[in-house]
Each structure stands twice: as C-alpha cells, then as structure tokens.
C-alpha cells in the first residue's frame, strides 16, 4: 500500500487549496486549453509570449487536486522561461511523474509531483496543464485532449 501522502504531499494540497496565478491574464497573447474527457478535468492557460520567452502566464480550470496543483506549480516555474527552457523543465516533470526519478536537482518544489508515478491513472492529471501551456506557447491551436492510449 502506498502512503496517501506520497501522492498528496503538502505542496500539492497547498497549491490545490490556494492555486497560484489563478486568473485570466488580460495581457495574454496566447491561450491554450486542455481537457481530460474521461474525468472532466478542464484547464485553460493564458500566456503572454514576448519573443520566445513566456513573460507571464496564468490558468483557470476545474479538476482534481493533482491537475490543479500541477497547473499552479507550472505557472510558477515557467514564468520568465524561454520556450526551450520550458520544454526542458517539462521533460523533467514528465520523467518525474512517469518514473518517480529526478534528474535535475533544481526541480525544487516540483519534486512533490514524484508520487504521481505510483498512480498511473493520475499521470494525465499531472501533465494536462503543462501540455496546454506548451501548446499555447508554441502556437499549436489544437486543444489538448488526454484521451489517447499510451498518453
């Protein structure tokens, strides 16, 4: 039996209760959305892109603690990053939530997502906001949907 606090670490519970950057961003020039039709998780991400830099971002949505906390953490970590940097961070996060392994000691509080890998059905929740943000930043107009096998 896993410990519930593996998944619901205090960082997660905190970001779920008080999500950061939870608003519509008036200055956004990109919007991305994601949904998990199997569960009804829904997220919209607002990005102000300046050149290839994510100058600012915010999100709104509804869903489980994992999806909301992960999106909240995402806004904190991607703010000010270039698209390339953002992709590198997401690569680490993806590895973290699928394997529990951390490559990069700089993940700081993102490490709270490590417990997700023990709950395979919840991996999609943890990645939803990240997908939506990167799609928005890269200008991919397709809304993200997680309803794909092996995703």
């Amino acid at each position: 039996m896993h410990d519930l606090t593996d998944l619901y670490q205090s960082v997660i519970l905190d970001h779920n209760r008080r999500p950061r950057n939870y608003s519509v961003l008036p200055t956004a020039n990109r919007v991305g959305s994601g949904n998990n039709p199997m569960c009804g998780d829904q997220i919209t991400v607002y990005v102000r892109l300046e050149g290839d830099r994510i100058a600012d971002l915010s999100f709104q949505g509804s869903g489980c603690a994992i999806s909301q906390a992960s999106a909240s953490l995402m806004t904190v970590h991607l703010k000010g990053k270039t698209i390339a940097e953002a992709e590198a961070i997401y690569a680490d996060v993806h590895r973290l939530v699928t394997t529990g392994q951390v490559d990069d000691d700089n993940l700081s509080d993102l490490a709270a997502l490590a417990g997700v890998h023990q709950f395979p059905a919840r991996i999609k929740c943890a990645t939803l906001g990240w997908h939506a943000a990167l799609n928005a930043a890269k200008g991919d107009p397709q809304p993200v949907t997680t309803e794909k096998p092996g995703d």
Partner: protein
C-alpha cells in the same frame, strides 16, 4: 440481510482479494458486475470441449456450438419474456443494440421534422446515436426534463407537453446510472404508444437488477449488456418486437445474415439472423445464458430488494455521517447506484484515496456530461451495489469517506 447472501460471495473468486493491503470492497457494479465461477466455467468448458463455428456446421462440435448458442438465445428470450427467441438479437452490448435501432429502424423510418424524444438523464450511449441519426435524417431531438433539485426524478408533469404526435421514437433509460432513479418504464412505453411513437428502453442498469418483462413493459425495443448482469464482456441483447424486426433493413452486411448473395445484389435472412452478420460472439453468448440462470436462481425480486436496501442504507448513512456531502437521486425507491459530491474534494481524489483503502468507486461524469452540467457538477463519485455487497461494506465506505474528508481538511 440473510446469511444466504453472504454465502454467495464465495461464488465470486475476484471478491476474495486484497487491494492495497485491504480486503477489496467492490462498489463499481454500475460500470461492470463481477462474474460467478459458473459463468467463467461456461467459457472454459466451451473452449475446452465444444468450440466451433455455428450455423453452417454439421460436424459434432459445430452442432454442439450451434445448439448451445441458440439455447442461449432461448434463455434470453425467457429471461426478458419475449414472445419468441427470434425477438432476441445478440449484439456486443447496450451501445451496439441502441446503434442497431438508430441505424436500421431510424434511417428507414425517420425524416426531417420528425422528433426523437429522450430524457435529460440519458447515458451517452442512449444520446449520441440519436444525435447522429438526427443529423443523418434531419429529425430533431427533444428532451423530457429532470425536475429541479437533486432527486433526479423525471418531470412527468411535462410528458404531455413533449410527447406529441410529432414524436416518432421515445428512448429512455429504465434506471439511471448516475442518479439511481428508477423510471416508470411501463407508463412511458404506454404514453409513447398512445402517440404512435416507438419506444426504446435502455435497460443497461436494470436488466440484471430488477424483474423485467418486455411484454409487461410494453416496449418496442430494449437494450442490455451481459457484462453488467454477471455475464462476460462483449455480448448483449437487443429485444425487438417481431413485426418491427421483420420490417427493418439489416444493420451490418456479412456472412450468416443473408438468404441469397449475388455479385450485385442480395436477399436477407429473417430476423434475428438478419442483424447478426459474421461469426457471432459464440462463447460469450453461451456464458451469458449461464449468467441468466444464475440471476434467476437468486430471483430478480430478491436482488432488487437487496440492492434497494443497501442503497437506501448507504444514502441515509452518508447523509447523516459525512458532513457536507451532496447526494444525488432519491432517498428511497431507488436502484443500487449512489452518486455524491464530497465538498472540497474532487471525485478523482476521492476515488484514488478510497482505492488506497481497498474501496473501488468510480468518479467522473459517468457518461452523463449534459446531466452533470445541468446539476452544476463536472463529476461525482459513485458507489454502486449488487447482491454480493454487504452492510459491512457500507461501514467501510462511510469510514473511508470520513477519512478522506479529514485528510483534505488538513
């Protein structure tokens, strides 16, 4: 609850396991029911002794397979009290059955301006096929509403307003998979008949749970899935009134559904073969027959009473012992499905946490997105009971939800 019901658990090998270190409490029966050993044995025995293709075969194995397959059809006809076995079409499940009606009956009988009446509580499987049919034919959809509030009852006061002679087909669920509401199916079928509309009963949630008799219901079509009735996945039935099936064009083309094929045209076999193109799901149909024996041995009245007793008790206890819970559906006179929203905790978190305690729940929109939206919810958690569940399992459910609430309250 009589001890006899407790003893039944031994028939279900899957129930005897630990999940995350706790004895499994399986409360996801509305999604799919578990299988008694006798049904599993029916599969094994078929594949170890009798496996062959049906209908066209004369050799011993093929005859055994054919007779067992047709005996399963007769068994299903008896279970639903159809007038004859030919009124039972084997399909791959409720969804397939409803699509069969939408495609074979619908395309031949509906035109622009006709109305398809549904209710606001339909499962996507009894909703999307009609949307697709409406798009193909120009027919319109109309909905019988659910009353305001959380009781989930159909607003029958509005029936006369929506069920007018422009309605050509009325499809509704017998039992809601989200609300636990049992609809007055016989009355709805009678009302449909009065305006000349064909009635389609989605019996996915009722067929294994309530006494069910298509002639007493007076329905034209009825759809059910074996996997929700202690039978295997991949098989289900469509009941159709003889005259309707006889007049319908085929659903899919292929082997076994023809009487004569030439390169440029063909004639069809009579129903039900006309609707069973290709090699059928022989083994699962036969095992489904065995599941129907099992259910009838228990008695469907007794199962319904047991389901209702547990669900009513669960509803009352959750209401009383879990502060801030929002329960859907009526407090009594209900099926075994109990949906709820736990204040401040998303359904996914509820289900993940309950799973850590060995309690299997379902969370989500339950293929009921429009109803969820109407109720102002994006998802609920759902506990659904069947005859092998016990009152002790309700204790586990209540304790688990209390624990989850404490955890999230921090």
């Amino acid at each position: 609850m009589s001890p006899a019901w407790q003893n039944l658990r031994a028939d279900f090998p899957i129930l005897d396991q630990q999940v995350n270190g706790q004895p499994l409490v399986y409360l996801d029966n509305a999604a799919t029911a578990q299988k008694p050993q006798c049904v599993i044995d029916a599969l094994t025995q078929f594949y170890r002794r009798d496996n062959a293709n049906v209908h066209r075969g004369i050799h011993a194995l093929s005859m055994r397979a054919t007779f067992a397959y047709e005996a399963a059809r007769e068994r299903a006809a008896r279970f639903f009290n159809a007038a004859e076995p030919g009124e039972i079409v084997f399909t791959s499940g409720t969804t397939d059955s409803i699509n069969l009606v939408a495609s074979a009956w619908g395309d031949a009988n509906l035109r622009a301006g006709d109305v398809i009446l549904l209710t606001e509580m339909e499962h996507h499987s009894n909703l999307v096929p009609w949307q697709l049919l409406a798009r193909r034919t120009g027919a319109q959809l109309r909905y019988l509403p659910v009353v305001a509030g959380d009781s989930g009852l159909l607003d029958l006061a509005q029936l006369d307003r929506v069920l007018k002679p422009d309605v050509k087909l009325f499809a509704f669920t017998h039992v809601s998979n989200t609300l636990g509401v049992i609809n007055p199916a016989a009355d709805l079928c009678a009302a449909a008949r009065k305006v000349g509309a064909v009635s389609v009963v989605d019996a996915a949630q009722s067929a294994g749970h309530l006494p069910l008799d298509v002639r007493a219901l007076g329905c034209d079509f009825l759809a059910a899935s074996a996997h929700k009735m202690c039978g295997p996945t991949g098989i289900g039935v469509l009941y159709g009134r003889r005259e309707l099936l006889a007049a319908m064009p085929p659903y899919r083309g292929g082997g076994s559904m023809i009487s004569n094929v030439e390169y440029f045209e063909s004639q069809w076999a009579p129903a039900p073969q006309k609707f069973e193109a290709g090699t059928p799901n022989i083994a699962d149909a036969i095992a489904f027959g065995r599941a129907l024996d099992y259910l009838d041995d228990l008695g469907r009245e007794a199962i319904a009473r047991h389901d209702e007793q547990l669900a009513t008790l669960a509803y009352a206890r959750l209401q009383a012992e879990v502060p801030g819970i929002r329960l859907l559906g009526p407090a009594r006179h209900r099926s075994g499905v109990v949906s709820f929203d736990l204040k401040g905790v998303h359904a996914h978190d509820v289900v993940t946490m309950a799973d850590q305690e060995g309690v299997a729940l379902r969370g989500g929109h339950h293929c009921n997105q429009p109803l969820m939206r109407k109720l102002g919810l994006s998802s609920t958690s759902r506990a659904s009971f069947y005859f092998y569940n016990t009152e002790a399992e309700i204790d586990r459910l209540v304790a688990t939800l209390q624990k989850i609430q404490r955890f999230f309250a921090g």
